[in-house]
Amino acid sequence: MTGPDDQPRDDRLAELISDAVSGVEPAHRLDDIRNRTKATTTMSSRRPWLYAVGGAVIATAAVITAIAVAGGGLPGADDDPDPAAQTTPAAEEETPTEEPSSPAPSASEPPDSGGGVVGVYFAGDTPAGPRLYREFLPNTDGTEPIAFAVDASLSGAAQDPDYGSLWPTGVSATEVGSGDGTITVRLSGAPADLPSGMTKDEAKLALQQVVYSAQAALGEGRVPVQVENLDGGDTVLGQPVAEPLNAASALKTLSHVSLTSPAEGQTVSGDSLTVEGVANSFEANVIVELQSSGSSGSGGGAGQPFTAEDWMGDKLFPFSGELDIANLPPGEYVLTASTDDPTGGEEGFGAFTDSRNITIE
């Protein structure tokens, strides 16, 4: 087919190209396809509709910590893990090229070692309502990091049970790509209107899950994200998507503390445990506590402060340090990182926390 103002087809070339595959007789795969569509139909309800609420509750706890370490960043720790550092709210127009010198977010780089770890933003509960947490997930099958991050973010495939996706089930990204200064995310199965039971803020935050995850995985800074609703319309979850979306204010979107390492469920051994994360906390203090989640032990103690690199500004700053675990009995523990709230919640929201269940061998 040739449109009215199309360039004329080169018929000789067309003939050569068509001829090149004219001998291809593909094997029949309809049965294979049918088998797979049966499987996907029955598995389609596996995703939780909303994130799990609340953190781990520790009945009894023995606190055994810690050494305060000023965070200078370990080798390999990302120095600007927050793709939305100093960004504007999504509603404002801003070109992404404003700060070419700012280090690109490096969510595709693992915080410790080993390849194929991608930072993904999930929703979880905070004193300020649902916010986004970043979790690093292993991407072992070689998927493009950006596609992996968006898929995981939509499906809520978090390792930490406190996290999840705000997106309804059945929404998936059919294409995630980047080029010409824009990230493109094509969604299918996404409701154009606000689903019942979802608030506007949750809808906005759901889109920010995708924006933050895609920007971090691409690692080229705050590249605007053009969301396309393949099912038609210029809205997704009742939010306009005709124009590319920018990352919204970090302090209004993210949990003010997010643990990078250890990972949920990780088993650790040795004399010390490296704790890394990002936070924005009063005077850059981050309280890190390790508590036994077993039935032995009693009481609670003050956690030890880590110091993040800074705390002024609309972004999260890296912190890291070592906990001495040499004398701890093996068992199940909960590691908690909290922002410092000197007012005890009198002013503002109160402390933000992030936690990890770990096993000490």
Partner: protein, 176 residues
């Protein structure tokens, strides 16, 4: 029972789409990835994906457009992931195992040369040419399928065509 009827629709639609487009889409993918087994995998995945999205793609044209896009995108990402492997495989396969009659051998050489030449092109140029010359889509349809502008389609098509004409000059002259 809307759920059941939706499911029946998706299955029936899948069979119709398969009957009408399976071979053509595999051939399209071969133009993009060269290897037939890989192309079959890619298109099979695309059919599974279109089935999963049937609720949003109820009419045939939309579903076909989605299938084309899925095949192009999946071919492209397959290429990226297997770049090293396929390059190696192409080298291995270079001496064609069917010498046969001269004419048949010439046809085989020509087809290989075309597929090799396609592999020389940047992704977008290869995709635009496959859609333009093999699926016979208009520039507007290609722009819609790939989500790029008409101008970009024109420029990819003309650059890609020029490169191919250079690479395949022997075959173009021979038959004119």
């Amino acid at each position: 029972m809307p759920r059941e009827s939706a499911s029946w629709d998706a299955d029936a639609a899948l069979e119709q789409l398969y009957a009408a487009h399976w071979r053509r889409l595999v051939r399209l993918s071969v133009l993009l990835v060269r290897d037939v087994a890989t192309a079959e995998e890619v298109v099979q995945d695309a059919f599974v994906a279109v089935h999963g999205r049937w609720s949003g793609l109820r009419d045939h044209d939309k579903a076909l457009a989605y299938l084309r896009l899925a095949v192009v995108n999946r071919s492209r990402s397959t290429l990226r992931h297997r770049a090293v492997v396929t390059r190696h495989a192409a080298r291995e396969a270079a001496p064609h195992p069917h010498p046969g009659a001269d004419e048949a051998a010439l046809a085989t050489d020509r087809r290989d040369a075309v597929l090799d030449a396609m592999r020389e092109l940047p992704d977008r140029q290869r995709e635009v040419l496959a859609l333009r010359y093999y699926l016979d889509l208009s520039e507007a349809e290609i722009a819609d399928t790939l989500g790029i502008s008409r101008g970009a389609v024109k420029s990819h098509a003309s650059r890609g065509s020029a490169t191919l004409r250079g690479l395949l000059s022997d075959y173009l002259e021979e038959r004119s």
